[in-house]
Symmetry: C2
Subunit: 204 residues, 2 copies
DNA sequence: ATTGCCATGTAAGGGGTTACATGATTAT
DNA sequence: ATAATCATGTAACCCCTTACATGGCAAT
């Protein structure tokens, strides 16, 4: 495990929930953390094999629900150690790439209509996400109160992040849209240069 | 331009601000959109060469401030066309990978202290970001009012996104931290399985 | 009959980062 | 002298996605 890939850790994390096959891992990720993390089969299956070679997981064949038999993996004590070590390391900040923000940033080249459409699309998507989060929220909240020493509080914290994020995006969409609606025609050119001033350097 | 890379479009966008060298592009990105977009030299220079081959930009040599001469590129009309076409296409939603959320999600494996540290680190970083945004905000706000038919309203919209995002993150950090502080010891295990229920499918 | 889901993998390709090579000039 | 900034590029590497191959079982 000297790579920088976080796929193996993601898998180890999933296996602390219950033993899973590669297929299960994908399913689990897709119905829990989809909105801030994803893995593809092309990553999962090879990683699972390597984790087994390293003794961090142990696989056994089981009859699948239907179709072919499935290989179910269980995390070993060494695997738990490895996961814990990773969980305690600080997460390195990665610059995200928000394409819609980039398009908005250069939106003056095409006028407000295009940007308004982008914002509208983002708004609709975000509303759907928010509805989904809200549906989980109640159950997790109850569970977190009933069992404080469980996963629930952690999962709730992450979920709350999704809720707050979505609400913020909706607010931003509305604010930005109303600002852009007040604008005139496209193509208006303002003089050269003038990047925003940079107070202080970036580190993080 | 049949690739899916957004580097060439980013560069074209920069060149609508003013003619720039590859070095300038990097500088500009770093003092404007760093927090939601980045490009490395390894991407910029080759892209610039290809853009020139395709006639979307035109380069000329100029004496640099110091050191070697710089090659400054200007966007052509064809380049503007290409950029506009891209700006009008919908941005495809990409699942981001928030490592700190992932670590928090699996944080029950190490107990609340580790997660609290992560949140504290995130909080400090976010506070710095927010201070930087606020410093730009006033100026851009004024400029957006003075010149509504300029870049300013678009840049302000993007910047406001940064402000709202940062404020949201701070709120979330505090909320999550206080929730986790109330928790007991690590290692408490709750029964098997029980992924959050998934109401409705994911599309987007 | 055909579609859809379960289930595991491989191969290719690409976008992107990091490190390195080079070197002149200015500030300390 | 030395470090920092300006400035352009190349090469290696790697993570990740996409597409493909395979195939049995259940439901329409």
């Amino acid at each position: 495990m000297t790579t920088t890939s976080r796929t193996p850790y993601t898998i180890l994390g999933c296996l602390t929930v219950e033993p899973m096959s590669g297929y299960d891992v994908k399913q689990f990720l897709e119905r829990s953390v989809v909105h801030f993390w994803s893995e593809s089969y092309g990553q999962i299956y090879p990683a699972l094999q390597q984790l087994e070679e390293e003794g961090l997981v142990e696989g056994r064949d089981e009859p699948g629900a239907r179709g072919r038999t499935k290989r179910v993996y269980e995390i070993t004590e060494a695997g738990r150690e490895e996961l814990r070590a990773w969980l305690e390391e600080p997460a390195e900040p990665v610059t995200p790439r928000y394409e819609h923000s980039l398009k908005l940033f250069f939106g003056y080249n095409v006028g407000p209509e295009a940007s308004l459409e982008h914002l509208e699309r983002l708004r609709r998507r975000t509303e759907r996400d928010l509805a989904r989060y809200r549906a989980w929220e109640e159950e997790l909240e109850e569970r977190a109160e009933r069992e404080p020493a469980s996963r629930a509080p952690y999962w709730l914290a992450v979920l709350r992040g999704g809720v707050l994020y979505s609400e913020m995006v909706l607010e931003w969409c509305d604010e930005s849209a109303s600002r852009l609606r007040d604008l005139g025609e496209p193509g208006a050119d303002d003089g050269p240069a003038q990047a925003p001033p940079t107070p202080g350097e970036s580190d993080t």
